[in-house]
């Protein structure tokens, strides 16, 4: 039996004012699956990811996480936007890793790690610290607890950001071009951490330009273009160039 569906988008549509950025996305992600989204800039792939944890609102279609409709509820047959507190609650199942890391620069690595677990999950500070230390060790940052993010390399910051998201025990991890703002030398260490995370069974959606990573770690890949999913396949088939000329052209341009 296939794993249960965790995330499901049906005819998802989004506009920024008059700009139609998502034109009807249909996608599902099963538990433990790693889905890689590739595509040219402006294709809507980051926007799709940001809709999942409600950093953006969608206007039509539906998006569910664990069967629960995201951002809206049905009241008497009509769809009503959720209150901020309900959106906040929904976000807690999802970990997000940003292109620009977005570690809190005024807090040390350890303070970054324990902030939300203590504040949001109500963990005891001592427990949160222990868990954080273990996670930092897992991403190869043991010993950096008391360092401010500005003193770390891009790769180190991104690994800390991954650990920070994991500290919230997310069911799904969303990665928005996690290596695009990092020096090529340190990209590898971030991808290693992500690979290890994928192997541990984490459900992941990764927006990326790292074809090697997508090919090796991804279970399934989709190509988005112009606000639509243009091509979707298990990665073994996806990177078989003969199947789709447009995909081939895009992949060639990435090399």
């Amino acid at each position: 039996m296939p794993n249960p569906t965790v995330i499901e988008a049906k005819q998802l549509q989004k506009w920024y004012g008059d700009l139609h950025v998502l034109k009807g996305i249909d996608l599902t992600v099963a538990e433990g699956e790693v889905l890689c989204i590739i595509g040219p800039s402006g294709s809507g792939k980051s926007t799709f990811l940001r809709c999942i944890n409600q950093l953006e609102e969608y206007q039509q279609g539906s998006l569910t996480v664990g069967g629960e409709l995201i951002g809206f509820k049905e009241v008497g047959g009509k769809r009503v936007a959720l209150k901020e507190s309900e959106k906040t609650r929904q976000r807690r199942k999802l970990g997000m890793v940003f292109q620009g890391f977005n570690l809190f620069w005024h807090k040390t690595v350890m303070e970054n790690m324990i902030e939300a677990p203590v504040l949001v999950l109500g963990e005891k500070e001592e427990d949160a610290r222990q868990k954080a230390a273990a996670l930092l060790d897992r991403v190869g940052l043991a010993g950096k607890e008391d360092v401010f993010p500005g003193k770390l390399s891009g790769g180190q910051q991104q690994r800390a950001a991954i650990a920070r998201a994991l500290a919230m025990n997310p069911e799904v991890m969303l990665f928005d071009e996690p290596t695009s703002a990092i020096d090529p030398e340190t990209t590898g260490e971030v991808l290693e951490v992500m690979t290890e995370l994928a192997q541990s069974g984490m459900t992941m959606i990764v927006v990326t330009h790292e074809m090697g990573f997508a090919k090796k770690v991804g279970d399934r890949a989709v190509m988005m273009e112009g606000g639509l999913v243009k091509f979707e396949a298990p990665t073994s088939e996806f990177f078989d160039r003969d199947r789709n000329p447009r995909l081939d052209a895009f992949l060639s341009s990435m090399e």
Partner: protein, 265 residues
């Protein structure tokens, strides 16, 4: 022309009791007005950034009006003006054995209203300086809007807010001399009365100038220590405690033009 050195040193080093009370009033008015102004600043500053247009407009109106009226006029208006018009006026408040005169309250409120308009702009700018990614990261971690404001936005904005806010307080210490116009016995009014009794205007005005300098100078030191602490993250050896901040400030203040470690992000 003679400079009365004896009188000068006597007043400088052995101030009368009423002058010490004046000093207390000067400082307490400045501090309370700054607190009030900061509270107004947060409300109006956030109001300027509100999603609701009428709130934005009201906040903008406050800044426009208050910044356009001299604080001296505000003080007379809220103390004598409203009383003369028969509107609710400041009344003396008795707290146990302590009496807070009406003009003292008006002084705090008047200067608080004045400085609130400037604080609003300073705070608005500070809030706007926080990078959207920081707020998104906090949201993504499931933090509530109030938690994001308290734990991320305000601490990060503080670094931008503190230097100009410190300047505002410096100005405010000096602006307390204006409350003499509504009869609050602060150091300037007391010095004026000494001057008119002794005719030693030059000496006593130099004495009171030195007292203002000591107050503002002391504040500059405090501000320097606070800034050193706030810039902890960019120093190679971050000041984590206030004790360390004092030590670093004395060695190399953040207000000096030192090389900082660039954010590599």
């Amino acid at each position: 022309m003679g400079f009365d050195w004896t009188f000068f040193f006597d007043r400088l080093f052995f101030p009368e009791e009423r002058f010490l009370w004046g000093l207390f009033r000067t400082m307490s008015i400045a501090i309370l007005a700054q607190l009030l102004g900061t509270a107004i600043g947060f409300i109006v500053g956030y109001g300027r950034l509100s999603k609701i247009a009428p709130i934005r407009a009201l906040a903008g109106l406050y800044v426009w009006i208050i910044r356009g009226i001299p604080p001296l006029v505000i003080l007379v208006l809220i103390f004598a003006g409203v009383a003369a018009a028969g509107l609710p006026r400041f009344e003396e408040i008795t707290l146990g054995s302590f009496e807070i005169p009406a003009n003292y309250q008006a002084a705090v409120v008047g200067l608080g209203i004045h400085t609130g308009a400037y604080m609003a702009e300073i705070i608005r700018n500070g809030i706007q300086s926080v990078l959207p990614g920081q707020i998104e990261a906090a949201k993504a971690l499931g933090m509530r809007p109030s938690e994001i404001a308290r734990r991320v936005v305000i601490p990060q904005a503080a670094r931008v807010i503190i230097p100009p806010a410190g300047n505002e307080f410096n100005v405010l210490i000096k602006l307390t001399s204006l409350v003499s116009v509504i009869g609050v016995q602060e150091i300037f009014l007391i010095s004026q009365s000494v001057a008119s009794n002794t005719f030693r205007v030059f000496e006593i005005m130099i004495v009171v100038s030195i007292y203002y300098l000591i107050l503002t100078g002391f504040w500059s030191l405090v501000q320097g220590v606070v800034e050193t602490k706030l810039r902890a993250f960019e120093s190679p050896t971050p000041a984590r405690t206030w004790g360390q901040a004092v030590k670093y400030f004395l060695r190399k203040p953040a207000t000096s033009n030192r090389k900082v470690v660039k954010d590599r992000a």
